[in-house]
């Protein structure tokens, strides 16, 4: 009986010793936020000649098949007392699993621990706010669309998510110019899509081979798929459709002599109203039309409104109008929907050459405020 008890005591002592040894030498790895970014910490970091990157390495977890080939994260190591820290070069990504491989070098071999970065709820899903031009009838040689989103979007899937359907709901093949550099604004909220100019322009091979993308007399639908991911990786709340009919090609340059300017009264902040007989390019109207004074220095500060299917431009000044002479100053590269500018038509037919106006940078229309 006593022998057995002694045996048990010995076993218990041995077990306790082992446990003690294990506790004393075992290293742990944690992930924590420091200064807004995630950092990995290993402790205790054994003193001695072991290199930090032999002790701990962080990987993206690509699954068992891929993991063998994936290199570790770029980053930097620091040692503070008994703590080894690894700071990733770039912020960790929500929805990605990270795998830390660590080895205390005591012979028990490498261990692994995985960490997931919690998905932050980025707020409401994005939507398409508007597509310009807003008109229901577009010319056969329509040049582009602007897609406006309510939140920043992700790049590289635009041409997978935008489709043009004919009257029967069938997709038109390759109507748009597909560029690797998608044409976004800096905020990632506006995308410019060009109709393939090689099909629109006369005399080029694709125009002969494939024809114009949209035809006079027919109807089409521009479809935006809701699967399009925003910059946070979430799909749109819903898709968007724009139905339109197509009229004849427009080969006439816009003329300022066709514009009508309605002047406001002095002393108030009513807008000056400029109306034109055809829809013009929405983005260029916002950028290339300004109100200046007789002194022609900096344009007046105020707010621009474009409405009535981009056939009306209004300017409300920040301060009430002093009486005097003003100018609507228009950049001559302002385009209509078919890309004709004040300077020249989109395509110059050299056989029937239209007189090209001298291209100054701007043209003006004067008006009086009294």
């Amino acid at each position: 009986m006593r022998a057995r008890l002694q045996q048990w005591v010995r076993l218990l002592a041995a077990a306790l010793c082992l446990l003690n040894a294990a506790w004393a030498d075992s290293i742990t790895v944690e992930m924590e936020k420091a200064g807004g970014e995630y950092v990995f910490r290993l402790s205790p970091f054994p003193n001695g000649s072991r290199q930090p990157n032999e002790t701990m390495r962080v990987y993206v977890d690509g699954g068992p098949a891929a993991n063998a080939d994936l290199p570790p994260l770029l980053g930097s190591y620091t040692v503070d007392g008994k703590v080894l820290s690894f700071k990733p070069r770039f912020p960790l990504q929500a929805g990605v699993r990270y795998r830390v491989v660590f080895d205390d070098g005591a012979g028990s071999g490498p261990q692994e621990r995985t960490f997931d970065i919690p998905d932050t709820d980025g707020g409401a899903a994005a939507v398409v706010e508007e597509i310009y031009p807003t008109a229901d009838v577009l010319p056969e040689n329509q040049l582009k669309f602007y897609l406006h989103f309510s939140a920043p979007m992700s790049r590289s899937e635009a041409y997978l998510r935008v489709h043009l359907l004919d009257e029967d709901g069938k997709r038109i093949t390759l109507p748009f110019l597909e560029l690797d550099q998608e044409l976004w604004d800096r905020a990632g909220r506006r995308l410019t899509i060009f109709f393939d100019p090689a099909r629109v322009k006369r005399g080029l091979l694709p125009h002969e081979e494939a024809g114009v993308p949209i035809e006079d007399g027919k109807s089409y639908t521009l479809v935006v798929e809701k699967e399009w991911l925003d910059a946070g990786g979430k799909p749109l709340a819903r898709g968007f459709e724009k139905r339109f009919r197509v009229g004849p090609a427009d080969r006439e340059p816009p003329r300022l002599t066709d514009w009508v300017v309605s002047a406001p009264k002095a002393g108030v902040r009513d807008p000056v109203i400029v109306e034109f007989p055809e829809s013009l390019d929405h983005a260029l109207l916002g950028r290339l039309v300004r109100i200046t004074t007789a002194a022609r220095r900096a344009p007046l500060r105020g707010e621009i409104t474009i409405d009535r299917h981009e056939m009306r431009w209004r300017f409300t000044p920040d301060a009430p109008w002093p009486a005097g002479r003003y100018y609507v100053e228009v950049g001559t590269i302002l385009e209509d929907l078919a890309g004709n500018t004040l300077e020249r038509p989109f395509e110059v037919d050299v056989f029937e050459r239209v007189q090209e106006r001298v291209a100054g940078a701007t043209e003006t229309i004067g008006f009086e405020v009294k």
Binding site: R89, V96, Q181, G203, L205
Partner: protein, 368 residues
């Protein structure tokens, strides 16, 4: 013993030479300062002389000249990096669908490959440049403390530009970039007006010179003339005169002499080929084989095209509808999915090719 006059002169000249020599060895880096190169977006890459890497930054509206210091001559072996996009993503701590490899350029001296990468796909994506050596090892080419200079393009964003008031939404996407004869040529496409911009910026960069813009036009069957954004171009000498071979966002492939790029001028390219529907070159390189020069172009959907430059100097343009459509070319259909193409050496090119699963491989191919 007094020194003879000629001895003194000889000594003086030697002394001057010793003082002057180190400075002239790297005159290309004159004006460059060490510091953080603040690229706001990763775009096209092109090498200049002496390991200087030019990088286009569309969002920042700038061209950076980066002194890589990578000037030790290297020999190009056979490069093969499978799953390069997954490896790059892993190093940047993210998944492969969250990076975009924007461009690739081989350093003609060291034969190391440089990649410009967007880490992230939204407007806040970070610009990263990575280096891949001949053994396939990938490392970061850090921009934190690098000797560099910068040329600002005319529509650089104002520091306080706000949305909704116009101007700040416009971006010139830089589509191609090359160094020729002391100038950096930049092709850009606006996200608003349908305009061509080919800009010529003298290098070394000076603080105020954003270069001169030139309007590029092309004809169509001798009848229609339109403004035409240049998408990609390659310098090429025709009968000892520097030219550019340019592919438009439309399909004509044109040539024009570099001397035509005068400030404010309007340049009509001479059409040397009409490439037809869905044939839009992404990259173009020129190489020699069997005594003839060839242009090699990749088009991700249609494979790689090889075009002979034989008789290119005779081309006055495709004038009539009935004309044969320009220089003959063949499609090398087995090279599909080639996203990037650059010269490696006289006999080989480096390609970045993507398969149906989306996996990308960096590998060497013999010039066809």
């Amino acid at each position: 013993m007094t020194l003879s006059r000629s001895r003194i002169l000889a000594l003086a000249v030697t002394a001057l030479a010793l003082v002057a020599a180190p400075a002239s060895a790297n005159h290309h880096t004159s004006g460059m300062k060490a510091g953080k190169a603040d690229l706001r977006s990763a775009g096209p890459l092109a090498f200049g002389p002496q390991g200087i890497l030019f990088a286009g930054d569309s969002n920042g509206a700038a061209i950076f000249a980066l002194d890589t210091g990578d000037t030790k001559p290297g020999s190009s072996g056979s490069v093969s990096v499978k799953g390069v996009n997954e490896k790059v993503a892993a190093m940047l701590g993210t998944s492969a669908d969250q990076i975009l490899i924007e461009d690739m350029a081989v350093n003609p001296i060291s034969k190391n490959t440089y990649l410009s990468v967007s880490r992230g796909r939204g407007p806040d994506a970070m610009a990263v440049i990575l280096k891949v050596d001949a053994a396939g090892k990938i490392s970061e080419f850090s921009l934190d403390n690098i000797k560099h200079s910068k040329a600002t393009l005319p529509n650089a964003p104002a520091p306080d530009a706000k949305d909704g008031r116009g101007g700040s939404l416009r971006v010139q996407s830089i589509t191609d970039l090359a160094y020729v004869d002391g100038k950096v040529l930049v092709a850009g496409l606006s996200n608003e007006e349908f305009a061509s911009t080919l800009r010529s910026i003298p290098f070394p960069f000076s603080a105020v010179d954003g270069g001169t813009g030139v309007e590029i036009f092309h004809g169509a069957h001798g009848r229609f003339e339109t403004n035409a954004p240049v998408r990609t171009f390659v310098p090429y000498e025709i009968q000892n005169e520097p030219h550019l071979l340019a592919a438009y966002t439309c399909t004509p492939l044109v040539k024009f002499p570099l001397s035509d790029l005068k400030p404010g001028s309007k340049v009509m390219g001479t059409t040397i080929a009409e490439l037809g529907n869905r044939n839009r070159p992404l990259d173009m390189i020129v190489y020699a084989k069997g005594g003839t020069d060839y242009i090699l172009m990749n088009n991700s959907s249609r494979g790689v095209m090889k075009m002979s430059t034989k008789d290119i100097h005779k081309y006055e343009g495709i004038k009539e509808k009935t004309d044969i459509t320009g220089l003959p070319y063949e499609t090398i259909a087995e090279l599909k999915g080639v996203q990037q193409l650059d010269r490696l050496d006289d006999n080989n090119a480096l390609i970045l090719v993507q398969d149906e699963s989306g996996a990308m491989e960096l590998k060497t191919i013999a010039l066809p």
